[in-house]
């Protein structure tokens, strides 16, 4: 039995289904990230776990015990809010110790725990300050301190870094990972930022419109997405999609025509008889711009498009291209000769192409071909 189990949790607000049959198991000590676009139900799912809201159906259990009817404060969860939710009329010390004081913990024990948390979070010198006298990052650390002193079994973070500036965000990310390593407890972290998710997660859970799209290690989701949503959501810049049409299929391969291409392309994905319209997904990094006069490698994807603009970031250059049918494409290129705004030919090895059905499902092939 897993440490934390969410089984068939659904939640509606009025007629709007916000969470649809979520089932998930989380192991002790894992760092799990819920990621998805804004409004997809991430916060709602956290609130189900911590008990601020209750599901319409389904259960949440921790260490084998069903939590549905247990008060939020008694679940052994602690939550850090996006807004920090510090009490503005109390010093940092009083903020951190509030929960302990409400539980009438002995003063010396409170002191001990707060000091320990303050040491971990480097808050020692700030404990006497009011929230308004703290910077964003410091407020965030006080909010985390408030969670730490409760010694919870599960830490819940709801977009804790989204109010910080970019630099501080990167720094706090590292601090949170370090905190997780030190405390060795289960953490569930919510973000809409897939980069944050990729960098922090042991496992990430991609949500969209209240449904779980895929669960797995970040790189597995990157390499092997289950559907078009995950493929497009994970990775930056996002994956390119080319419209395609199946013209022939057998048990081991599929032949198709695709946007911007000249002739039929053969992909080593079998058993797709019956599919007609598909989409081919290729990551920017797997695309390459052909030099003038260079021929594409045999049996590779190849197509032509017009350069619209070029982002030169130093370590990498992104060339934005538009195909005749209007499909936008991004190519990740090295630092090469300047690229004008002419037509260019682009190629990618077929091994990196992913196929998606019209409903967004990944087409992996019936016999395990195509990854």
């Amino acid at each position: 039995m897993a440490f934390l189990e969410i089984s068939s949790v659904s939640k509606s607000f009025g007629a709007v289904k916000v969470l649809d049959d979520i089932t998930l198991e989380i192991e002790r000590g894992e760092f799990v990230v819920f990621v998805g676009p804004s409004g997809c139900g991430k916060s709602t799912l956290l609130r189900m776990i911590t008990g601020l809201d209750s599901p319409n159906s389904g259960t949440v259990s921790i260490e084998g015990k069903v939590m549905n009817d247990i008060e939020p404060a008694k679940r052994g969860t602690a939550m850090v809010f996006q807004s920090y939710a510090l009490y503005p009329h109390m010093s940092a010390y009083d903020n951190v110790s509030f929960g302990l004081r409400m539980a009438h913990t002995a003063k010396t024990l409170i002191r001990q725990r707060v000091d320990a948390a303050a040491a971990i979070l480097r808050l020692d010198k700030l404990l006497h300050r009011r929230p308004r006298e703290l910077s964003g990052g410091q407020k965030q650390r006080v909010a985390i301190g408030r969670a730490i002193v409760r010694e919870p079994r599960v830490f819940l973070f709801d977009e804790p870094l989204s109010n910080l500036d970019a630099e501080l965000r990167v720094q706090m990310r590292a601090e949170l990972i370090e905190l997780h390593r030190r405390l060795d407890v289960t953490m569930i972290y919510v973000t809409h930022d897939q980069i944050e998710a990729m960098t922090m997660a042991d496992r990430m859970v991609v949500l969209n419109a209240g449904r779980m799209q895929q669960v797995g290690r970040p790189l597995d989701l990157y390499d092997d997405p289950d559907n078009r949503f995950v493929a497009g959501f994970v990775g930056s810049p996002r994956m390119n999609f080319l419209a395609g049409e199946v013209v022939g299929a057998d048990a081991t391969s599929t032949r198709l025509l695709h946007a911007g291409g000249t002739g039929p392309l053969t992909l080593p994905i079998g058993g797709l008889q019956g599919q007609l319209k598909v989409e081919i997904g290729v990551r920017p990094d797997h695309l390459r711009i052909l030099a003038d006069g260079e021929d594409p490698p045999p049996a590779a994807i190849a197509f032509t498009g017009r350069v619209t603009f070029v982002e030169e970031l130093g370590n990498v250059t992104y060339v934005h291209i538009v195909l005749d049918d209007g499909t936008p494409i991004v190519v990740g290129a090295g630092r090469g000769p300047r690229i004008g705004t002419d037509d260019v030919r682009i190629t990618a090895p077929v091994g990196h192409a992913l196929l998606f059905a019209q409903d967004g499902c990944r087409l992996r092939g019936r016999n395990g071909t195509g990854k």
Partner: protein, 284 residues
């Protein structure tokens, strides 16, 4: 301040006009009070009415009159009644108002909107309409001529509730939820989180309630008919009445004494009062 400095360098017609009007208004407002002081602290035998002047002439004569009023009339007792009436009303209005506002503003319960709507309707009903039923109810309870009869009907302040609800609605839901997760009980959230955050609104409400209670004439007149329960307002009314045998400086002293607590209150909380009125105005 800045206006003054600006006008020192280039006094435009407008600033001169503005200041003239402001000073005139101030004089008109202050003059009656000054006149009272003037009458009270005048040499006996040289009443201001006979010999008009704009400055007091005798401190001791005034203090003597104050002493006479406190020592020889029921004024001091009425003062105590008024203070009790005000303090208890303030305490009650704050307690009930904040507790009710806490529920209305921050929690959902069946019928919340309807009940709140009904309470808000009470804001629109003039006192003249409710005073007789309230009197009858108070009489039925046997509370005539008692402190509870004076205080209790004034405890449910629709205005106070409204003001505090507006204020508490601005408290982020996250903060209440954080407190809940911290294990704070309903009452602890009210006491440790919400009340401290509403301090300003509470102070404003206390001030407005004080001004209203201290100056309330009608209700004490109805409920406190026995001399034991006379408030300052009633006593002053008697001094002022045509059948009163007091001389003018005694009457004036009685009036001045009644005005002292609100004056002190006003000087202490000037800023808060202005804020409070602005707040109830803009948010209402």
């Amino acid at each position: 301040m800045t206006a003054k400095r600006a006008s020192a360098t280039s006094p435009t017609i407008w600033t001169v006009l503005k200041w003239t009007v402001a000073i005139l208004a101030a004089v008109i407002a202050v003059f009656p009070v000054w006149w009272m002081i003037n009458v009270v602290f005048s040499e006996p035998g040289q009443p201001v009415s006979i010999n008009p002047r704009l400055w007091p002439t005798s401190l001791t004569a005034g203090l003597q009159t104050v002493h006479v009023i406190f020592a020889e009339t029921a004024y001091l007792h009425a003062y105590m009644v008024s203070v009790c009436y005000s303090v208890l009303t303030i305490a009650g209005v704050l307690l009930f108002g904040s507790a009710a506002a806490f529920e209305f503003a921050l929690f959902d319960f069946p019928g919340r909107r309807i009940i709140f709507g009904i309470v808000m309707l009470a804001l629109m009903v003039p006192t003249a309409v409710t005073i007789i039923p309230t009197y009858l109810l108070t009489a039925d309870l046997g509370w005539l001529n008692s402190m509870q009869g004076l205080v209790v009907p004034g405890l449910a302040s629709a205005f106070g509730l409204f003001m505090l609800v507006q204020f508490m609605r601005a408290i982020p839901a996250d903060m209440i939820e954080a407190a809940r997760l911290d294990g704070a009980s309903h009452l602890q959230i009210y006491w440790h989180v919400v009340l401290p955050l509403c301090r300003n609104a509470m102070v404003t409400l206390a001030i407005l309630t004080f001004m209203q209670t201290w100056g309330n004439y009608m209700w004490p007149l109805l409920v406190g008919t026995s001399p034991d329960m006379y408030t300052v307002g009633q006593i002053v009314g008697m001094f002022n009445s045509p059948l009163s045998h007091q001389t003018v400086e005694v009457v004036m002293t009685a009036n001045l004494l009644a005005a002292v607590p609100p004056l002190i209150f006003y000087l202490l909380f000037q800023r808060k009062i202005v804020e409070g009125i602005a707040m109830s105005g803009t948010k209402g």
